[in-house]
Symmetry: C2
Subunit: 407 residues, 2 copies
């Protein structure tokens, strides 16, 4: 893809120039240096408001910090969403730093250490319990502190989220408590120094098929209603999970959130009737920030080897591992790519775009159709706002980390 | 694998306790905390001396810093080897910090920036030229500085290194100059402000089959001899590459370096006859440090989900991406694993070992046979001295980086 009339993610084009936050990407890269991630705050805000408009009224929206933990991005989102979800004490600190009320922060993840559980209990956030063992450790820590830590039970459902990029439920899992074990766990929980809030049911991520997502949300609501019957107290909170995907690759079609929202409305009515004290939320990471981010690197060398043209940039998999096809993918596929200052210019050549690392894994684009591209030009990779800088081996080969800019 | 009589890499066992550098791993982990990489300096030194004994006399041995750039490891190796190879200006600084003579340091990698070329030229190290464009940029920088930067031509051979984990030669590549283009490049080089030293021919990495390696070394020597005929000055340096692999997975058999050394001797004689002014070296990274490293994490949770036992540790792919199967591998295979304080104890259970990250990618061992393992026990992953801490997304999910210790 080279300079489509409408670039992915809603970025604007002026003349041949790609814009982000009302400024030219060429200018931003000139000022901040390359390689560079640019996140467009207005696009993030628009994504949140589009989502709110599509979802049933009163459905809470949480941001899973893991998708993009840049402090400025987290602060921007904290003002737009109803809660933050964290996966470590490092992320917990970032969440608290935004001023988000602790009661609106939850902490999920297997392998929480005693230190992390203690920090969570003291901060007054909600701990999503991943196992009976974790529940007992947290209860002991709470009792020793003389408090009752706020908890939700993370449930590993029997059903799977089909077509998901990452399955996190169904079958044996390290995540959550098997749904069939939850009633016994709730019995035990009732006698512990813990404040029971509700359930966290998260089956997987990166789904583009609305029907699959609707099917999963329906099963999730049914499961929450069934489990609520065994709860030691009225359910006050249900995290329905997320799984909303974004299109990365040729042929991917964007999720129809209007359809998901319409289907979710009656499900939510049913859930509210069964759990009248509960608030319901979905938890999204990638969906909120993924399309609002660009990865920009500069062409350092251009060479032809045995008939194939290589553009070598100053970027690489040390900044954007998923782009190289090495983060959960079996087969590498191209992200959408363009040249920042040559949007809409017809493609006249085909090139492999590689990074500066001394490894054949460092591929940014294979056989990409581009306008003629010279040393100094800026290669832009779209759909790079999630799981980029923070999910890449930034120290690999001793190169500098990428700059990150919220505009 | 659980506590074999002879653990991989030459680590010692005392009673049921795994030792590193003469100290118990349990004690080291207690002092330094987990997760932790431990590198055994004596094992690294033994690896170098075994290799020297096996290789023909006078063959230079270089360490490729990228395999493990921990400053203490680089300093340790700098005293044992004849040269250091770097892949960025960050690694260049680490190499110079050891006191290694600049004339014994070389810099390879596509996408070297002007700033990196300038730093290399000023430091007096050897730049392995990856393209005609890079040669011209370095020549211009050298001329502006009034010096002649030391260069070798990195050659992309026509032959491939079969069975290599990472192919870096043969076919179209971003690495080096296609061998058929080298004579013309040397013609041009003769008129530039550059000091020609020789060639760097690197076809790939991680080969366990000695015959394949010998075949490749033979072709490499032949190619160097052919190219020397076109050199603008007597060849003074040939880097024959590396590619020596280490066994990671069940069924892998260690490389027979005795056999490789014997076969290399006559090849080297021939090369020396053709290039009497040249020194010859091999460049190794993983082979020198990979087996001397352990990755140690502590069991935080133990749970059974639908019949499968999970051991959840405080480690994960944020420290050891390759272990999770997400760094160039198509299929995840288990590294050798043991429990630090229970070496030699018979396996009585089978468990999945996972890290603390909230992603299904975070797998440290699948269906591993172990002695019964409890919360607090130390899971040791062998063969973890190369491409571990530095090649992993340490910031992912906001957890702390692993400690690293040379003992």
């Amino acid at each position: 893809m080279s300079g489509p009339a409408l670039p992915p993610g809603g970025f604007e084009v002026r003349g041949q120039e790609l814009m982000a936050g009302g400024r030219s990407v060429t200018e931003l890269a000139g000022q901040a240096g390359t390689p560079l991630f640019i996140y467009d705050g207005a696009l993030i805000a628009r994504r949140v408001s589009d989502l709110r408009a599509a979802m049933p009224a009163g459905l809470g929206l949480h941001y899973a910090i893991k998708a993009n933990p840049l402090p400025s991005v987290v602060a921007h989102l904290a003002a737009l969403v109803d809660g933050l979800d964290v996966a470590s004490s490092g992320e917990l600190e970032r969440a608290l730093a935004t001023g988000m009320a602790p009661g609106r922060i939850s902490f999920a993840g297997p392998g929480k250490t005693d230190a992390e559980l203690r920090a969570a209990a003291l901060a007054g956030i909600t701990v999503n319990l991943e196992s009976a063992g974790e529940m007992r450790r947290l209860a002991a820590i709470s009792a020793a502190l003389g408090i009752r830590a706020r908890v939700a039970v993370r449930v590993n459902p029997l059903f799977e989220l089909r077509q998901s990029g990452m399955r996190m439920g169904g079958g044996p899992r390290q995540f959550g408590v098997d749904e069939e074990m939850v009633p016994a766990l709730l019995d035990e929980l009732a006698g512990l120094s813990l404040e029971f809030l509700g359930f966290h049911i998260f089956a997987g991520s990166q789904v583009l098929n609305g029907e699959v997502l609707i099917d999963c949300l329906g099963k999730t609501v049914d499961l929450a209603i069934r489990l609520a019957a065994d709860a030691p107290a009225p359910v006050r909170y249900v995290n329905l999970g997320g799984g909303f995907g974004i299109p990365y690759f040729p042929g991917d079609v964007a999720l129809d959130i209007g359809r998901v929202g319409q289907a979710l409305a009656p499900l939510l009515d049913r859930a509210r009737a069964a759990c009248p004290d509960a608030s319901f939320a979905i938890e999204l990471g990638r969906y909120l920030v993924g399309e609002a981010g660009l990865y920009v690197s500069r062409v350092v060398d251009r060479k032809v080897s045995r008939g194939k043209t290589f553009l070598v940039t100053d970027g690489g998999l040390h900044h954007h591992l998923a782009l190289s096809g090495n983060f959960g993918q079996v087969i590498r596929k191209n992200y959408p790519v363009a040249i920042a200052g040559r949007m809409g210019v017809a493609a006249t050549e085909t090139a492999d775009i590689v990074g500066c690392l001394c490894t054949p894994l460092d591929r940014l684009g294979d056989n990409v159709a581009l306008p003629e591209t010279a040393i100094g030009d800026l290669v832009v990779v779209f759909q790079s706002g999630a799981y980029g800088a923070s999910a890449s081996p930034s120290g690999f080969l001793g190169h500098a980390p990428a700059a990150e800019l919220l505009v």
